[in-house]
C-alpha cells in the first residue's frame, strides 16, 4: 500500500512539474526573500568584481545515496556560477568529498568554460576531491579557503557537523560563508557559525533564485503544492486521531 502511494505521489509530482513548467511563465514567479541566497548572490558579485575566488563545496555524499539531492542542487548552482564566474580572474573552485561528485563538478566547470567560448582555459584541478571522509575533506578544504584567495565559500550539499570547521576557517580568513545542507544537526551548527545559513529545503531554491528557468521554478511550485498537501494530511490525521476515528 505504501509503495503504491509513493508511486502515485511520484507520478503526480512528475505530471504537475511538467505541466507547470509548460504552462506557467517563469517571469510570473515571485520569490520570498532568502537572505542567504541574497548574500550569496551579492558575495559572488563582489568576488567577480574583486578578482577573488568563489569556493563551492559540494559535500561528501555518494550520488547513489539519499543525500544525492542536495548534491545535485549544488551542482546545478555550480553550473550557474561557473557560467558567470569563469571569466573572473580567479574562476570558481569546486570541492567535493566524493569522487563521482568531483567528476561531475569538473564536467560542470568545463561546461561553464565552453559556454563562454574558452574551453581551453579549463583546469581540471578546479574541480577536486578534497578527501574521502567528511572530516578529512573539511580539513583539506580549510586551507583552500585561506590559500586560494577566496572571498566567498558556499557549502551546498550534504555536510555534517564538520561544517563548523569550515565556518571557522572562513571567519579567520574574512571569507563570507553560506551554508546549506540537508542534515538537521549540521543546519544547527551552520546557523551558529556561518555568515548566512540556508535552512531546510532552501538549498533547493538556490538554482531557481540564481537563474530562474521554467523547470527550477516549476520545481519550487510543486514543492509548495506537495508541502500543503502534507500539511493537510498531517492535520487531518491528527484530528482523526484526536477524535479516535483512527
Amino acid at each position: 500500500m505504501t509503495g503504491w502511494v509513493g508511486l502515485g505521489a511520484l507520478l503526480f509530482s512528475t505530471v504537475l512539474l511538467i505541466a507547470i513548467a509548460r504552462l506557467r511563465r517563469p517571469s510570473a514567479a515571485r520569490f520570498r526573500p532568502i537572505s542567504g541566497l541574497t548574500s550569496l548572490y551579492r558575495a559572488f558579485g563582489h568576488s567577480v568584481e574583486g578578482g577573488t575566488r568563489l569556493i563551492i563545496a559540494l559535500g561528501g555524499p555518494s550520488l547513489l545515496s539519499r543525500s544525492a539531492g542536495p548534491a545535485l542542487a549544488g551542482l546545478r548552482l555550480l553550473k550557474e556560477i561557473a557560467q558567470r564566474g569563469t571569466g573572473s580572474d580567479l574562476p570558481p573552485l569546486a570541492v567535493s568529498g566524493e569522487p563521482s561528485l568531483a567528476l561531475l563538478s569538473q564536467d560542470t566547470l568545463h561546461a561553464g568554460y565552453r559556454a563562454i567560448g574558452a574551453p581551453e582555459f579549463f583546469q581540471p584541478v578546479t574541480g577536486r576531491v578534497a578527501g574521502l571522509t567528511p572530516f578529512s575533506s573539511s580539513a583539506a578544504t580549510m586551507p583552500m579557503i585561506s590559500d586560494e584567495q577566496a572571498s566567498v565559500a558556499a557549502l551546498i550539499g550534504h555536510f555534517g557537523v564538520e561544517s563548523a570547521l569550515l565556518a571557522e576557517a572562513a571567519e579567520r580568513s574574512n571569507v563570507v560563508l553560506i551554508g546549506a545542507t540537508d542534515d538537521p544537526a549540521a543546519q544547527a551548527v551552520l546557523y551558529a557559525t556561518s555568515t548566512d545559513p540556508l535552512v531546510g529545503e532552501e538549498l533547493f531554491a538556490a538554482p531557481a533564485y540564481f537563474a530562474g528557468g521554467a523547470m527550477p521554478l516549476a520545481s519550487l511550485t510543486v514543492q509548495d503544492v506537495l508541502r500543503w498537501i502534507i500539511i493537510a494530511v498531517v492535520l487531518l490525521g491528527a484530528a482523526l486521531k484526536l477524535l479516535q476515528i483512527i
Binding site: 541574497t38 563582489h46 555524499p61 545515496s65 571522509t133 550534504h158 530562474g212
Partner: protein
C-alpha cells in the same frame, strides 16, 4: 594662410571644409550647399564582415538580421548623388517627396532602440556628436531619407511575409493579414486602390512648397521606430478616424504592385512603407490607454537625434548622413511619384485626419496592435523594494563606498549574461532601463558626498577562541586523567536503550549477527564508548558469530579496531568467530543490493566478498538469516538507509541502532513506530547498557565526568555570552536615553 570658420556656437575656429564644428559639433555649413556629391560617405562592408547586426544581435529575428545584412550589401552600390538640393523648389522627385516627410517635428521623445538602430544601420549619437539636433533634423529632411531595402521593395511577398510573421503581433491579425497577402486582390480592393491613388495625386499638388512649411498629414498606423528608421520626423500622433479605413489595399497586394497596375505617384509625408502598412480592416485598433505614455500623450516636438548607419565605418561627423539618404536609389514606384501640388492642409479628408488633426496634429493615435507588439514595450517600473536594494552602499571589497553597483537580488528577472528566451522587447527595455538607472545612480553618487560608515567587521577574536580552547582542553583533560566518579549515572534508563538491551538478549546463542560499522574515524571515541557495552553484553551472553561490514571506506578498518580494542576482552578471532566483509560500495544502492542478495552483492561489490564463502557464516544466504542486525552509525543518513532499505529483506530480524548523540534523536521516530527494535544514543543512552553489563567495559564511566563538565562549561559559556551581550546593549542604549 588657410581660412578658418568661426563656429557660431562655441566660437572656435574650424577648417572651412568641415561641415560641423570639431569642438561642439555645431553645423558650420548651410544645409543647401554642404553636400559634396563626390564624397562617398558610406563604405560597403565586406560580405564576410561580422559587424552587421546579424552578428551582434543573436536575439533578432531572421528577417531583421537579413534586413540589416541586406542594407549593408545593397545600400552602398546604389548610393547616388542627390539630384538637386532639397531647398530648391523643383519638379517632383522621389528625393523631394521623401524630404517632405522630414520637416515635421518629432511628436514624441521616443528614441530608436539600440537593437533597431543596429539592424537598420542607424546609430544614435548623443546630442552634440553629430551636430545640433535642429540641424540634423533639417539635414535629414532636406536631403532625403534612408529607406531600408525591405521598405524599398514593397512588392516582395517574401519580405512582407517575414516581416509580419516575425513580428510579435497578435496571431489572429497576422493570420488574417497573411491570408490577404496571399489571396490576391479582389476587384473591390482594386477600386480602393485607384481611389486612394487619386487622392494621392490631389495631395501631390503641394509638393513644390518647401516641406518644412507644410503640416504633415496625419499618419495613422506608422510605428515610430519605422519612421525613425527612415529618418522621418513625421507626426505619429495623428488621429485615427477614417485613416485606417482609407489605407490602400495595394500596399498589401504584391501581385498588383509587380504588375504595375497600382503605381504610386505620390506618397504622403510620413506614409509608411507598403510592407509595414497593414490593411485597415484587418487590424484592430488598440486601446489608447494601453499604450506607453510617450506614445499616448502628445509630447512637445523634439528634435530627432542624428543617426548614421551602423554598418558605416566612418564616424558620424565625417560625412553627412542625410546625403546618403538623399542619394539612395529609390524604387520606381517612389521615384515616379509626383510632388504633391497642394499643401497637406488641403488634403482630402480621407487623407488628413478630421477633427483632431485639424485642431492639433499632435493628437494621440491608436496604433495597430501589430505595431504595438513590435514596439519596445512599456517599461516595467521597478518596485520600491528593488530600488531600495539597488541603492545599497557597498561596504566591503573594491567597490567600497559605491552605491548600487551590484544588483542586490538574484537574477531571476535580470540574468547577468545568459539571454532568456523571452520576448525580446521586454528584455531589451528592461536591460536598458536597469543600466540607465544604475548609471544615473552612480553618477549621482559621485557628486554626492557620502559619509562612508565602515562596517563593523566581526573579525576573528583569537583571544576568545584560544581562551575557550584552553579552558575546555585543560578541564576535560584533568577530568579524564583523574578518572573520578564525581557525577553519577542517570537514575533512569531511556526506553529505547532498554529495548536495545532486550533485543540483544533475545539473540539465540551462537547465532549469526551482522554488525554494520558506519561511522567515521572522527567519531571513534564516542561511537566505541556508546557501542562497547552493548556489543560486549551480546558477546558475553550469546557468543554469536559476527559478520562485519561498512559502507564507509574506512569502516572496515575501524571495525577491526573495535574488535581489537573495545571488545578485546572477548577474544574474538578474525576468520573463525567473525569475518570482515569489508567495504560495501554504493551507499544506499549498495545497501539495497546487499539486502536483496548478500552473497551476490558482495561478490560484485567487494574484493572481500570471498569471505562469505569461507565457512564462517554457513547457511546465511539472506539478510533474514541473521539473528540480529546491529548498526553502529554516527549519521542520520546512514541509519535511515539501513532501516528503510532493509525493511522487507530482513523480515522479523531485530534491527538495533547504536547512534551518536547527534543522530540518535533523529532516529527515535523509527523506534517509536516499531521499525527499530532499540536505539542506544550517545553516552546518555549508553549508560544504561553499561550498568546492565556490570559496568563493562567501562567506557561510559570513564568519559562521564568529563562529559558532564563539558556540558556545564558550554552552558556557562552561552550564559556568559548572553549576559555580556545584554549588558553591552544596555550600556549602549543608556546614554541615548539619558
Amino acid at each position: 594662410m588657410e581660412d578658418f570658420v568661426a563656429c557660431p556656437n562655441c566660437g572656435e575656429l574650424n577648417s572651412p571644409e568641415l561641415p560641423y564644428c570639431q569642438y561642439c559639433q555645431w553645423r558650420l555649413k548651410p544645409l543647401d550647399d554642404s553636400w559634396d556629391p563626390d564624397r562617398t560617405p558610406v563604405k560597403p562592408i565586406p560580405e564576410d564582415s561580422d559587424s552587421s547586426a546579424s552578428g551582434q544581435e543573436p536575439l533578432l529575428p531572421d528577417w531583421l538580421r537579413d534586413a540589416g545584412t541586406s542594407i549593408s550589401r545593397d545600400s552602398a552600390p546604389t548610393i547616388k548623388p542627390p539630384v538637386q538640393p532639397a531647398t530648391e523648389v523643383g519638379p517632383p522627385a522621389s528625393d523631394d517627396l521623401l524630404a517632405g516627410l522630414m520637416h515635421e517635428q518629432e511628436p514624441e521623445q521616443e528614441r530608436v532602440p539600440d537593437w533597431v538602430a543596429r539592424i537598420i544601420g542607424l546609430d544614435e549619437s548623443p546630442p552634440g556628436v553629430g551636430g545640433p539636433n535642429v540641424d540634423a533634423r533639417d539635414s535629414t529632411a532636406e536631403q532625403g531619407a534612408y529607406v531600408p531595402p525591405f521598405i524599398e521593395s514593397p512588392a516582395s511577398p517574401t519580405g512582407t511575409d517575414d516581416l509580419f510573421w516575425e513580428a510579435d503581433a497578435p496571431t489572429a491579425d497576422v493570420d488574417r493579414l497573411d491570408r490577404r497577402l496571399q489571396g490576391g486582390t479582389s476587384s473591390t480592393e482594386d477600386s480602393e486602390v485607384h481611389e486612394w491613388l487619386r487622392k494621392l495625386d490631389a495631395t501631390a499638388s503641394g509638393a513644390e512648397e518647401r516641406p518644412s512649411q507644410r503640416p504633415i498629414p496625419a499618419i495613422t498606423d506608422v510605428p515610430t521606430w519605422v519612421t525613425q528608421m527612415r529618418g522621418v520626423t513625421g507626426d505619429l500622433a495623428g488621429p485615427l478616424p477614417g485613416g485606417e479605413a482609407e489605407l490602400p489595399a495595394w500596399l498589401q497586394d504584391s501581385a498588383a504592385l509587380e504588375a504595375g497596375e497600382t503605381r504610386a505617384r505620390s506618397t504622403p509625408s510620413g506614409e509608411i512603407p507598403a510592407e509595414t502598412a497593414p490593411e485597415p480592416p484587418l487590424i484592430s485598433t488598440p486601446d489608447l490607454g494601453s499604450k506607453p505614455p510617450e506614445v499616448a500623450s502628445p509630447a512637445a516636438p523634439q528634435p530627432t537625434p542624428p543617426s548614421v548607419p551602423a554598418f558605416s565605418t566612418e564616424s558620424l561627423d565625417a560625412f553627412d548622413v542625410d546625403a546618403v539618404f538623399e542619394s539612395m536609389h529609390m524604387p520606381d514606384w517612389l521615384a515616379d511619384v509626383p510632388q504633391p501640388e497642394q499643401p497637406p492642409e488641403q488634403a482630402p479628408p480621407s487623407e488628413v485626419p478630421s477633427e483632431p488633426a485639424e485642431e492639433s496634429p499632435m493628437v494621440p493615435v491608436d496604433l495597430p496592435s501589430w505595431v504595438e507588439a513590435m514596439r519596445p514595450a512599456a517599461r516595467e517600473k521597478s518596485g520600491p523594494a528593488e530600488n531600495r536594494e539597488e541603492g545599497r552602499l557597498e561596504q566591503v571589497g573594491p567597490l567600497l563606498g559605491l552605491q548600487g553597483v551590484l544588483p542586490a537580488v538574484p537574477a531571476v528577472t535580470r540574468p547577468l549574461n545568459k539571454p532568456r528566451p523571452h520576448a525580446m522587447r521586454l528584455e531589451a527595455t528592461e536591460q536598458h532601463d536597469t543600466h540607465a538607472r544604475l548609471l544615473e545612480e552612480m553618477l549621482a553618487a559621485e557628486t554626492r558626498p557620502l559619509a562612508i560608515t565602515a562596517g563593523r567587521a566581526l573579525g576573528p577574536q583569537r583571544v576568545l577562541r584560544w581562551a575557550l580552547g584552553a579552558i575546555l582542553g585543560l578541564t576535560l583533560s584533568a577530568a579524564l586523567v583523574g578518572k573520578g566518579t564525581i557525577f553519577p549515572f542517570p537514575s533512569t534508563v531511556p526506553i529505547e536503550s532498554m529495548a536495545a538491551v532486550r533485543g540483544v538478549e533475545g539473540v539465540p546463542p551462537d547465532a549469526h549477527v551482522l554488525l554494520v560499522f558506519d561511522y567515521e574515524p572522527a567519531t571513534v571515541g564516542e561511537m566505541e564508548a556508546t557501542a562497547a557495552s552493548l556489543i560486549d553484553h551480546l558477546l558475553l551472553l550469546k557468543h554469536p558469530r559476527l559478520a562485519l561490514i561498512s559502507t564507509s571506506p574506512t569502516g572496515s578498518l575501524l571495525a577491526e579496531g573495535f574488535m581489537s580494542t573495545a571488545v578485546a576482552a572477548r577474544g574474538y578471532v578474525a576468520g573463525t568467530q567473525y569475518v570482515n566483509l569489508g567495504y560495501l560500495a554504493g551507499g544506499l544502492t549498495g545497501v539495497r543490493s546487499f539486502a536483496g542478495d548478500p552473497t551476490q552483492s558482495l561478490s560484485a561489490a567487494s574484493v572481500l566478498g570471498r569471505a562469505w564463502d569461507a565457512g564462517v557464516l554457513p547457511g546465511t544466504e539472506r539478510l533474514s538469516d541473521f539473528a540480529a542486525i546491529i548498526v553502529l552509525t554516527d549519521s542520520l543518513e546512514s541509519g535511515r538507509v539501513w532501516i528503510e532499505q532493509t525493511a522487507a529483506p530482513r523480515g522479523s530480524t531485530p534491527l538495533i541502532l547504536v547512534a551518536s548523540s547527534q543522530a540518535g534523536p533523529m532516529l527515535l521516530p523509527y523506534f517509536e513506530s516499531g521499525q527499530v527494535t532499540g536505539i542506544v544514543a550517545g553516552l546518555n543512552g549508553a549508560a544504561g547498557p553499561e550498568i546492565m553489563n556490570s559496568g563493562l567495559p567501562g567506557y561510559v564511566r570513564r568519559y562521564w565526568d568529563g562529559y558532564n563538565i563539558g556540558l556545564y562549561m558550554g552552558f556557562l559559556a552561552i550564559l556568559t555570552a548572553g549576559a555580556w551581550r545584554a549588558w553591552r546593549l544596555y550600556s549602549e542604549r543608556r546614554p541615548e536615553e539619558i
